[in-house]
């Protein structure tokens, strides 16, 4: 426990060097405070988003939004709102996403802001799909693909949504899958390949090929793990658990659900965490562990119903096994 002050001479020398370096160097003029603060908040929010810290990211995006509002910067507000909506989508909070996107759409239309149309439509499509509005989602994603010039990443994401919709209504899956695979060739991101594998697994599961579904999901999981992409890891485990449960492999299903829950709790993901918890409870019940299943259902009620959710409490209750 030794604490020693750095020598003052060294500090002064460092200061001297820094002053001389500053004198020798050139720098771009710093932006005004009103611009610098929200931009910093956006940058830090983006960093948190990339680190899968979505709650922190949302807080920073909200701060940026407040600052942009304070200087009546519509473009900044739209960016912050779309970022907030993206975080809400990742956390499965489609109602919140819809609220942010409606505000963003209003601003874009009011001030005729260029450059947001395609991505905004895509996010509205994704929000509608998450909310179960297949018609709305199809219309929005169709509108994205109908645009003359569209970012290929936006187009690819729209094709994913259309393929998911085709799979759900069991019509046009093959065509949607082919279009998706073609668009995917130009995309270098491994996580999009993993997403396609998960869609393939879903298609296999719907045809009763549980082993094929499990194999595809295992590959997808490996990609997500290599990319350290938490939402993908958690979603893959949940889908693996569902397949294992359908196969009657309850121990394996339980393991996948538990691993998914650990990731969801780290992400502070309430919606997906609750669905994983419900899955785990059903597996425990099927295993005959009714007491544990009851405990998990109580925790599920808390997770879904608590106004001021304490993640610490969720963690403690979950780990009490």
């Amino acid at each position: 426990m030794t604490e020693r002050r750095p020598p003052r001479a060294a500090l002064l020398a460092l200061l001297l060097v820094a002053a001389l370096a500053a004198g020798c160097g050139s720098r771009k003029p710093p932006p005004p405070e009103a611009v610098a603060v929200p931009l910093d908040a956006l940058r830090m929010g983006m960093q948190s988003y990339q680190d899968d810290q979505y709650v922190a990211a949302a807080q920073l995006f909200a701060k940026a939004l407040a600052h942009f509002r304070s200087v009546d910067d519509s473009r900044g507000q739209v960016i912050a709102l779309m970022d907030l909506a993206d975080v809400a989508l990742v956390l499965g909070e489609h109602a919140r996403a819809a609220h942010h996107l409606a505000e963003a759409e209003r601003l874009v239309q009011r001030d005729r802001l260029p450059g947001f149309g395609a991505q905004l439509q895509l996010m509205l499509c994704q929000t509608a799909a998450q909310a179960g509005d297949a018609v709305g989602a199809e219309a929005r994603c169709g509108a994205v693909l109908a645009l003359a010039e569209v970012d290929p990443r936006v187009a690819l994401a729209a094709r994913f949504e259309l393929a998911k919709l085709a799979l759900t209504r069991a019509a046009g899956w093959e065509a949607a899958r082919a279009a998706l695979a073609e668009a995917l060739d130009a995309d270098p991101r491994p996580t999009t390949r993993a997403r396609l594998l998960r869609l393939d697994a879903d298609a296999a599961r719907r045809t009763g090929d549980l082993a094929g579904a499990y194999a595809a999901l295992t590959k997808a999981l490996a990609i997500y793990q290599a990319e350290l992409y938490r939402p993908g890891i958690a979603a893959s485990h949940e889908e693996l658990a569902a397949v294992a449960q359908a196969e009657g492999k309850l121990e394996i299903a339980r393991d996948h659900y538990e691993r998914a829950l650990t990731v969801r709790m780290w992400m502070l993901d309430r919606v997906h965490g609750a669905s994983a918890l419900a899955g785990l409870a059903s597996v425990e019940e099927a295993r005959g562990a009714t007491a544990r299943a009851t405990e998990l259902r109580e925790l599920l009620d808390y997770l879904r119903g608590a106004d001021n959710l304490e993640w610490r409490v969720v963690q403690q209750k979950y780990e009490r096994r």
Binding site: M1, L12, A18, A22, P30, T192
Partner: protein, 341 residues
């Protein structure tokens, strides 16, 4: 009308060596300024001064850091140099003092923590020692007066409060033993007696004959008889009350003897309580003052942090630091991607 050459900026009209000289003058000027600031800065004034070290062992080094100032008679004479764990689980605090104040640090000098240490603004105060005693040598150990904690103060005050509570309970017991109705009746009888006596004295004052005549007077006789009767009744009731009160008096005796025993320690206890309350008042007063300063302090801290942030940002974009600092992503919008839910 100006010639073409006069439209050129003056700096382009200077030859190269003049320009170099100008830059050189600026650089040298800046260096001179730095040296000047260095020489006259407060830190630099004591940087090369001769110093000596003393050691203090404390049970609780709360709020002491390596920047904690050390004062003698209100003058800054040094700072804490090092904090370490000593023997017997005591905290070893190494204090570096300016040599020119060494003559004040004698064997009877004591180090104590300022009262503000409780709220995190610690200063070590060293009492100036007796000049007849030898100096504490370099590396020597100084005795420490540890400040009284709030818990200790409360622990000292609590027994006194408990005694007071017990005494009040006894008094309450006494008050409950007396029946208010009986007291009311007795008071009423006494009032009647007093009224009768007043009547007699009024008649005497009216000059109606002598005392024998007054006694012979039938009215007076009746009044007197009634008075005596009432007095007798009052006395009888008083006797009965006294008999009832006998056990209470016995209790009272016991209480007073206990109180006598307890009161032996009372002056000392009161004295101690006085001292503690005084200390508490001083501490609370200081804390109050500090609390009032707190919002201002927070505001200033925030301003300072914002300024530091701006300075750091400027530093980050300055060569050569800008080369090694990884800039955060400039992307404002999250990358479009399929949902992975």
């Amino acid at each position: 009308m100006s010639t073409p050459s006069s439209k050129v900026h003056y700096i382009h009209r200077m030859n190269y060596s003049t320009l170099e000289r100008l830059v050189g003058a600026f650089v040298i000027g800046a260096l001179f300024l730095l040296v000047f600031l260095f020489v006259y800065s407060r830190e630099a004034q004591t940087m090369f001064a001769e110093k000596f070290t003393i050691i203090a062992y404390m049970k609780n080094a709360q709020s002491i850091t390596t920047d904690t100032k050390v004062q003698i008679s209100g003058i800054d004479v040094g700072a804490v140099e090092e904090i370490d764990l000593g023997g017997d689980n005591l905290i070893r605090v190494e204090i570096e003092l300016l040599e020119r104040f060494h003559s004040l640090v004698r064997e009877d000098s004591r180090a104590s923590l300022s009262k503000l240490s409780m709220i995190g603004k610690a200063t070590i105060e060293i009492s100036a020692g007796n000049t007849d005693l030898p100096l504490i040598p370099d590396g020597g150990i100084i005795a420490v007066d540890e400040p009284v904690s709030i818990d200790q103060i409360m622990a000292d005050v609590l027994p006194a409060l408990r005694n007071t509570q017990e005494a009040l309970a006894r008094v309450n017991q006494l008050a409950q033993a007396v029946d208010p109705k009986e007291v009311q009746r007795t008071v009423h009888n006494v009032a009647t007696t007093v009224a009768n006596v007043e009547k007699i004295t009024t008649m005497m004052a009216a000059g109606r004959g002598g005392l024998g005549q007054m006694v012979a007077d039938r009215g007076v006789e009746q009044d007197l008889a009634a008075t005596i009767k009432s007095l007798a009744g009052t006395l009888a009731q008083t006797e009965a009350r006294m008999r009832e009160l006998a056990p209470v008096f016995k209790d009272l005796q016991a209480v007073s003897s206990e109180a006598r025993v307890a009161s032996k320690n009372l002056p000392q206890l009161i004295d101690e309580t006085h001292r503690l309350v005084g200390q508490l008042n001083t501490t609370v007063g200081t804390v109050n003052y500090e609390m009032q300063q707190l919002p201002d302090l927070i505001l200033k801290t925030r301003q300072l942090m914002e300024q530091s942030d701006r300075t750091l940002r400027a530093l980050q974009s300055t060569w050569p630091i800008s080369q090694s600092v990884v800039q955060p992503p400039d992307a404002e919008l999250v990358e479009p991607k399929p949902t992975h839910d």
